[in-house]
């Protein structure tokens, strides 16, 4: 088995391939002890080759596995993963726990990419944090926000300031659902800017946990004039794309 391990800031995903076929997909939260979490995921597995990706990719050197180890960046992993699910992909958008990346593809290769830098504004963390303000679980936050109408403009992209802005909008009597939609819109706008910087071409694969959020999907499609399902393609398990890409990079000869 070839294993791809995507060690992200919020969660760790594992994909196991046997003869190019997905045998296993697993996911655990990263916690403060990612090594133990990785060990847990790999329990009972005997991979011939393990490829690490994500911000914690170098942690695999500390796993005592006795197999071939290598690492690739999350940019390459997401590109490989996206092209595996959708070979016609021209752009990849990944919104993960603490970073957002936009990747432009041509002839099966990464041409240009952008990532958010030090700040987690506009990432899954932003939604998780603001969902907390509404006392709604992150899984249901998108559905909730979809009920909003005429969302007010949230001008701050800073998570902390956005919360302040949301609070003052509530005090002004705005509907909470509409404010929630406004917060989703703020993320989408930031994302579109990033996509345009790498030059957006369709079809675009949308990966990462945030691709599960129906409000982000709807607003994004509106903002970039795209049709869901043809222009924007979402894999079945969007948060497994990085781990899949890593597994695909593994040496199939061993």
């Amino acid at each position: 088995m070839i294993v791809g391990l995507d060690i992200g800031s919020r969660s760790i995903e594992l994909v196991g391939l046997v003869d190019g076929v997905t045998e296993l997909t697993l996911r655990v939260p990263t916690t403060f002890d990612p090594i133990s979490q990785c060990t847990k995921l790999l329990d009972g597995l005997r991979p011939a080759s393990l490829v690490g990706t994500g911000y914690g990719r170098n942690l695999i050197q500390r796993l005592d596995l006795g197999c071939e180890l290598s690492t690739i960046t999350e940019i390459k992993a997401h590109a490989l993963g996206a092209m595996h699910f959708f070979p016609q992909a021209r752009t990849v958008l990944d919104i993960g726990g603490q970073d957002t990346k936009a990747i432009s593809l041509a002839k099966g290769k990464v041409v240009k990419f952008e990532m958010n830098d030090r700040c987690a504004a506009g990432t899954g963390k932003f939604l998780e944090y603001t969902a907390g303000v509404f006392q709604i679980s992150i899984e249901n936050f998108g559905e909730y926000a979809l009920k909003g109408q005429n969302p007010p403009e949230i001008s701050s992209i800073c998570t902390v300031f956005a919360e302040t802005e949301a609070t003052s909008l509530m005090a002004r009597g705005e509907h909470p659902e509409s404010i929630a939609m406004g917060l989703h819109k703020a993320i989408v706008k930031r994302t579109v800017n990033m996509l345009n910087r790498v030059s957006l071409n369709f079809p675009m694969v949308f990966s990462g946990g945030v691709a599960n959020n129906p409000c982000v999907l709807k607003l994004l499609a509106e903002e970039i004039n795209a049709v869901l399902g043809t222009d924007i393609l979402v894999p079945q398990e969007p948060d497994m794309v990085g781990a899949m890409g890593a597994a695909l990079h593994g040496n199939t000869n061993c």
């Binding site: 960046t73 999350e74 940019i75 390459k76 990464v110 990419f113 990532m115 830098d117 030090r118």
Partner: protein
């Protein structure tokens, strides 16, 4: 750093310069560790690197002692922050021209009380070094020269001037005829001021000698630029950057001789096809803001990703070494004109328009056969951040990929930088 050679003598000197000894010890300790990790850990380094190691280990020690000895003989020290201050004139008046400390995070909290927080790291650093009493070059200077390159610097010099008298040269912002005239008047004003400070007078002979000394230094660095571009790269980008950095501190004639020796060694390496990195290692060029000592963060991250840096388009790189002063003038007037012409060729991002830089960047990238360019802008550096977008377009038109990096002196973003740079290198493989 601050090797054991004559620590106690150095300490006495630092005390006289009113440095904060404890903080200075801590700074040298950090620098020493940093230098060990980034420089001394390299394999297959040149013999000539011994000179670099020595200069760096004594940069606040023996070099400062030399400055003090020269001062005792009546010579003056000019400290500056920019390649626009004409070294030829400084040398012609028997003064010593040095770059001042601006490459490390020091005293930033103190600096933020005098200048806005959203100021670039380089500016914050020189203010911080003064407030924290950490720069012996600054404390040894008889004349400190600032310049009006960017808004951040020119306003910061107002605050700096309250701490230490700062002479300001007005660098024009266009390359028009009027700008040329303005710059000439500024060069003449600098000459007159330095004549006053030194109590000496410019003569054609002395100015000619000054021009030749500065040109010889630039020629040695040009030689380095050419030799390092060989494949496989015969010297690491880090070491080449260090040489450019040291050119602002060491005595110019000694520096030139040492770098020419080092270039002889490089020539032998190139001839025997010997490299510091494998022939197939991705070749990157750095472009953008200057990296003052000990700002080695980005080069280290880049070269740890398996790539090798084969060129530097910056003020501590080709922007400072590409053009020479014409040596044919015989009168002071002719030579001043030649100096003015040369300095007006500097393609600093403070000029508008600055299309020469786009041509220079693409030409250098092609000359040195760079696989890609990493554009480095300091956070909050408006001029270079703007030009990053233009440089990207210009390089794209030539089919050369570019990665734009915006960072400062802190270490908090090293992991993010690693990811970006490794991903960029992956796209080149």
């Amino acid at each position: 750093m601050g090797g054991a050679v004559s620590d106690s003598a150095h300490r006495e000197m630092w005390e006289k310069l009113d440095l904060d000894l404890n903080a200075h010890d801590a700074l040298l300790g950090v620098l020493g560790k940093f230098y060990g990790d980034i420089y001394l850990s390299q394999e297959n380094r040149l013999q000539g690197a011994e000179y670099l190691d020595f200069v760096l280990s004594e940069i606040h020690g023996l070099r400062i002692k030399e400055l003090q000895e020269a001062k005792a003989e009546g010579r003056k020290v000019v400290g500056s922050f920019c390649v626009f201050v004409p070294e030829e004139i400084t040398l012609a008046l028997d003064a010593i021209h040095v770059g001042l400390c601006a490459g490390a995070e020091a005293g930033s909290d103190l600096a933020e009380q005098l200048i806005p927080r959203n100021t670039c790291a380089l500016i914050k650093s020189f203010i911080g070094f003064k407030l924290a009493k950490l720069c012996p070059f600054l404390e040894s200077s008889d004349m400190i020269v600032g310049e009006t390159t960017c808004d951040g610097k020119k306003k910061a010099y107002e605050a700096f001037n309250e701490l230490v008298p700062t002479y300001i040269m007005e660098v024009p912002q266009t390359k028009s005829k009027a700008a040329h005239t303005l710059w000439k008047s500024e060069v003449l004003r600098y000459m007159a001021e330095l004549e006053k400070v030194t109590g000496r007078t410019i003569t054609p002979e002395k100015l000619k000698k000054g021009i030749r000394t500065a040109n010889a230094k630039r020629r040695a660095l040009q030689r380095l630029t050419t030799l390092r571009a060989a494949s496989p790269a015969p010297i690491s980008g880090r070491d080449a950057l260090l040489i450019n950095q040291i050119s602002f501190y060491d005595e110019p004639v000694r520096f030139t001789a040492k770098i020419n020796e080092l270039c002889d060694e490089l020539e032998n390496r190139v001839e025997s096809n010997e490299g510091i990195a494998p022939e197939n290692a991705p070749r990157l060029m750095l472009s953008g803001c200057p990296m003052a000592v000990p700002n080695w963060k980005l080069p280290y991250v880049i070269e740890s990703s398996g790539a090798v840096i084969v060129g530097e388009e910056s003020c501590i790189g080709t922007r400072n070494t590409r053009d020479l002063v014409d040596e044919s003038g015989e009168t002071v007037e002719d030579m001043i004109d030649a100096i003015v012409d040369r300095y007006m060729k500097i393609d600093c991002a403070c000029f508008t328009p600055n299309d020469d830089r786009l041509e220079n960047v693409t030409a250098l990238a092609k000359d040195i056969k760079a696989d890609g360019v990493i554009h480095y802008s300091l956070l909050f550096c408006q001029p270079y951040l703007h030009e990053a977008l233009k440089v990207d377009k210009a390089l794209q038109a030539e089919g050369i990929p570019m990665l734009s990096i915006e960072t400062d002196y802190s270490m908090e973003d090293v992991e993010q930088l690693k990811t970006r740079i490794e991903a960029f290198v992956e796209t080149l493989e």
